[in-house]
């Protein structure tokens, strides 16, 4: 074919025959889909900055990131699971398990923080492997498989700690005092600073950049997305589909346990109820992230931005004295707004993970 055929003719429409949706409106909608969410975040921050003097302090601005870190990091794990077309419902349980496991390792087993971190990360990887085995090998649908894992892991956590929260120097069942405690080094994870920046904020930045780089720049990220877009087409393009799916769940489990480490260090004890609310937040944030920037695919920056927005709302509304249950309403509204941006306003018809996207010309 010659080049003449590769340039579509764009004849100007005769007067009165322009398409019904004006180009201006189209453009506005495009902008809204792409930047609407960011604009809402900035507007909200601006409003809190102007109306709440406490919001303005640099401590508080870092505080936003510290607060967002566990949710964002677990959400990044969910994001990776979503790229392969899956969904990981076990992240909250995995994070909660990590909290208790860290406490148990340090307090009951009298190990140092570094060992606890290693054990916890390993535990997260094992949870991810179990998910991978259920989804890839046993071919159980992802929602059911990870739901099962969620229950199993929550139960396992209670078995591990006899249903009790573990704190430093607590009294054990046999009447003796627990030999170990939360080490300084471990607590530094949540309470330390690197220069002026709190450690969780640094950690969040590192994880976010790593996940972004993996997904957007590397071959492996591309293959993860390929599996999610059309697994059969990916397989016939030579992608080892099962391997990439498994890897996605393992990464999700590991990131959930990183989130759990931050929670454990923040609380300073093995709170058995920790991590319970993380599941919904992490999944919501990853879903919101899908719509940010109008990408319509799960992506790292979107997830981080979603987590930051949630933390802006929680912190800002608490300063304004709004009760916590009203904050949940606000979270719901944000999720709704994000979904409106990506599904209702976007001209591209989108698909949830796992479903083939509709549309396209033939």
């Amino acid at each position: 074919m010659t080049s003449s055929a590769t340039t579509p003719t764009t004849t100007p429409a005769p007067p009165g025959a322009g398409s019904r949706v004006s180009p201006g409106l189209d453009r506005a909608r495009e902008l809204l889909v792409r930047y609407g969410f960011i604009a809402v975040t900035i507007a909200l921050i601006g409003w809190f900055l102007l109306s709440e003097p406490n919001f303005r302090t640099s401590d508080n601005l870092y505080g936003l990131l510290v607060y967002a870190a566990p949710t964002a990091i677990a959400g990044l794990g969910v994001t990776i699971a979503m790229t392969v077309g899956g969904l990981d419902l076990s992240v909250g349980a995995a994070a909660g398990f990590a909290v208790s496991l860290a406490a148990w390792t340090m307090v009951v087993q009298n190990q140092v923080g570094g060992v606890a971190i290693g054990v916890v990360l390993l535990g997260g990887a094992v949870i991810g492997l179990v998910n991978a085995a259920l989804v890839v090998w046993a071919r159980i649908p992802d929602l059911l498989a990870t739901l099962t894992t969620m229950f199993a892991v929550m139960g396992l956590k209670l078995v591990l700690v006899d249903g009790k929260s573990i704190s430093s120097r607590m009294t054990l069942d046999d009447g003796t005092t627990a030999p170990g405690r939360f080490t300084e080094g471990f607590l530094w994870l949540a309470r330390g600073d690197i220069g002026p920046v709190p450690v969780p904020a640094v950690l969040l930045a590192l994880v976010a950049v790593a996940v972004w780089f993996l997904l957007e720049r590397t071959r492996h990220g591309r293959l993860l997305y390929a599996v999610g877009a059309n697994a059969e087409a990916a397989r016939l393009a030579g992608v080892p589909v099962g391997l990439y799916r498994s890897a996605a769940y393992v990464l999700s489990g590991v990131l959930a346990s990183v989130a759990g480490l931050l929670l454990a260090a923040r609380i300073g004890q093995g709170d058995v109820s920790a991590g319970n609310s993380l599941l919904l937040d992490a999944v919501a944030v990853a879903l919101v992230g899908t719509s940010v920037l109008g990408r319509n695919v799960p992506n790292a920056w979107g997830t981080v931005l979603g987590a930051v927005l949630v933390s802006v709302m929680v912190v800002g509304f608490s300063m304004k004295g709004l009760p916590y249950y009203v904050q949940d309403v606000a979270k719901g509204a944000v999720l709704l707004a994000a979904l409106l941006f990506s599904y209702t306003l976007s001209r591209r018809r989108t698909a949830l993970p796992g479903q083939p996207a509709a549309g396209g010309a033939e």
């Binding site: 005769p14 398409s19 071959r219 992608v239 591209r348 396209g360 010309a361």
Partner: protein
């Protein structure tokens, strides 16, 4: 004929700045089969989508039997008497339902009756409605077939199902967008019989096809779209020497035709080179005989066979994406038993699968990304994808295969069907390929692109690859191949050099057993 069944005036449609249809006027008479022709991306499917209520934002007016109608939803269009079978067959079936439920789906979704009885799903009524639908087409589907999950239907049976569904409500206009691109000649003939019967009954038919032989056999009139405008309108018998330039413009000159006015002129045959692939005792289907077969480098081997004859099984076995019922293969003298497509690609075996939407395209992916997916290893350094090289490769493929698009970063979903096919084929037609397996590579591509793809396949063979083209269409195979194999139920019934065998012999070998109307 007094008033047209359907008449279009000044139809226009834009996607952003891209004016895809521009002032199309068209009258379709009752009892007329009108072929809508045009190169890939000419706007045929878009016109059909306008007609069927998918693109309510169009310009111009549509009148059905003299009354102007606004086609602002598919339901409205159907109620107005326009029944459409879209190009993508899968869009027409509802997954998760049985064949019968699919056939009766419109009744289920929009029941004629109101009240509680319309809420209950009556199995017996569904079966009765389904049987009526099937009878319109003269299909011999048993109740057992009707009770199956629709996903078990092959693509050609799914096509017939969608057609049956379209005809249930006795439309005034039946619109068929490339209905035969997935069908064998016999299956297509079955479809034509139905269409002819409907024409006698006064139905108007608008029919899109790239197979000019079929247009000759079926259509009363042919209208050509080019860049969104009507460039030719003629009645049968068609003068292809006039119609083709109207379709392809200056590209027509690059594609001379032979004596029949459609096919290519005779060309030199490539002699068989060394044996690249050696099959020993291969059983393609569970009950088929063991097959010994050598495929030669340096030439194009055409494999003709119906759906289910074992063509795709042959290809997928060599590509490591399925395993045969038995037997072994060698590639260049070494055992070839790839455990996965990845292993086959490493060995230089490439496969273009037959179903581009289900097996090749990734929703939301750009042309460049789609092209590079199998070769990311070569395209990345230290695991990082080199995006400028990727873009350059995409650009050169777009040029080489004449993909009609603004840029290599366009979403593949925005391309016309034929242009998607060029991307899917072009992806695997790369230097260094040893065995190139093309399963139905010409599905939905226009005449020019068909010649182009065929030419690229022959170039690959000339460069030393063993090229295998698998198709249900005898002419497609004869056009491109040097050696022809006919496959019936997993057995080879003819194996001959193309130059020495008349078309009738191939057709005879091909139709050795009756095609049968039931899903396999």
């Amino acid at each position: 004929m007094s008033t047209a069944a359907v008449s279009l005036r000044g139809i226009g449609m834009s996607f952003g700045a891209h004016r895809v249809l521009d002032g199309v006027d068209l009258d379709i008479a009752a009892g007329e089969v009108l072929a809508l022709l045009g190169a890939n991306g000419a706007g045929k499917s878009t016109l059909i989508k306008v007609l069927s209520g998918v693109h309510p934002g169009h310009d111009g007016t549509i009148a059905v039997a003299g009354t102007e109608q606004r086609m602002d939803s598919p339901l409205r269009a159907r109620r107005a008497g326009i029944a459409t079978v879209h190009q993508r067959v899968h869009d027409g079936v509802v997954p998760g339902l049985t064949v019968a439920e699919n056939l009766a789906f419109d009744d289920l979704a929009h029941p004629a009756r109101r009240g509680p009885s319309s809420v209950l799903l009556r199995r017996r009524e569904v079966m009765a409605a389904a049987r009526t639908a099937v009878e319109v087409l003269g299909l011999d589907w048993s109740d057992a077939v009707l009770r199956r999950d629709v996903a078990e239907l092959g693509i050609s049976d799914a096509q017939l199902l969608v057609l049956a569904r379209a005809l249930v409500h006795r439309p005034r206009l039946l619109v068929l967008d490339e209905p035969t691109s997935a069908l064998s000649a016999a299956e297509a003939e079955r479809l034509f019989t139905v269409v002819r019967a409907q024409r006698e009954a006064g139905l108007a038919v608008l029919y899109v096809s790239h197979r000019l032989g079929e247009v000759d056999a079926l259509a009363d009139r042919a209208v050509v779209l080019r860049d969104g405008r009507v460039t030719s309108d003629s009645r049968a018998p068609f003068r292809w020497d006039v119609v083709l330039p109207a379709m392809l413009g200056e590209r027509a000159a690059a594609h001379p035709v032979g004596a029949d006015g459609i096919g290519p002129p005779p060309r030199e045959a490539l002699p068989p080179g060394e044996v690249a692939v050696r099959l020993r005792g291969v059983r393609l289907l569970p009950r088929s005989p063991a097959l010994d077969l050598d495929l030669h480098a340096g030439q194009v081997t055409g494999v003709v066979g119906l759906l289910g004859a074992g063509k795709s099984e042959l290809a997928h076995g060599l590509f490591g994406s399925a395993s045969w019922a038995g037997g072994t293969a060698e590639l260049d003298g070494r055992p070839h038993a790839p455990r996965s497509p990845a292993a086959a690609v490493r060995a230089g075996v490439h496969l273009v699968p037959e179903d581009r939407a289900g097996q090749a395209l990734l929703p939301g992916w750009s042309i460049a990304r789609t092209l590079s997916l199998p070769f990311l290893g070569e395209l990345s350094r230290g695991g990082v994808v080199d995006r400028s090289t990727e873009g350059a490769r995409g650009r050169s493929a777009v040029d080489r295969f004449g993909v009609v698009t603004r840029s290599e970063h366009t979403d593949v979903g925005e391309l016309s069907g034929g242009n998607q096919q060029k991307v899917v084929v072009g992806r695997w037609l790369v230097p260094g390929v040893r065995v190139l397996l093309l399963d139905e590579p010409f599905r939905g591509v226009d005449l020019g692109a068909r010649r182009d793809i065929g030419g690229h396949a022959r170039d690959a063979a000339r460069a030393g690859a063993a090229v295998v083209v698998l198709s249900a269409d005898v002419d497609e195979v004869l056009e491109v191949a040097d050696r022809v194999l006919v496959l019936v139920d997993g057995a080879v019934t003819l194996d001959a050099p193309v130059s020495g065998v008349p078309r009738e012999t191939v057709v005879a070998a091909f139709s050795a057993t009756s095609p049968g109307g039931t899903p396999s």
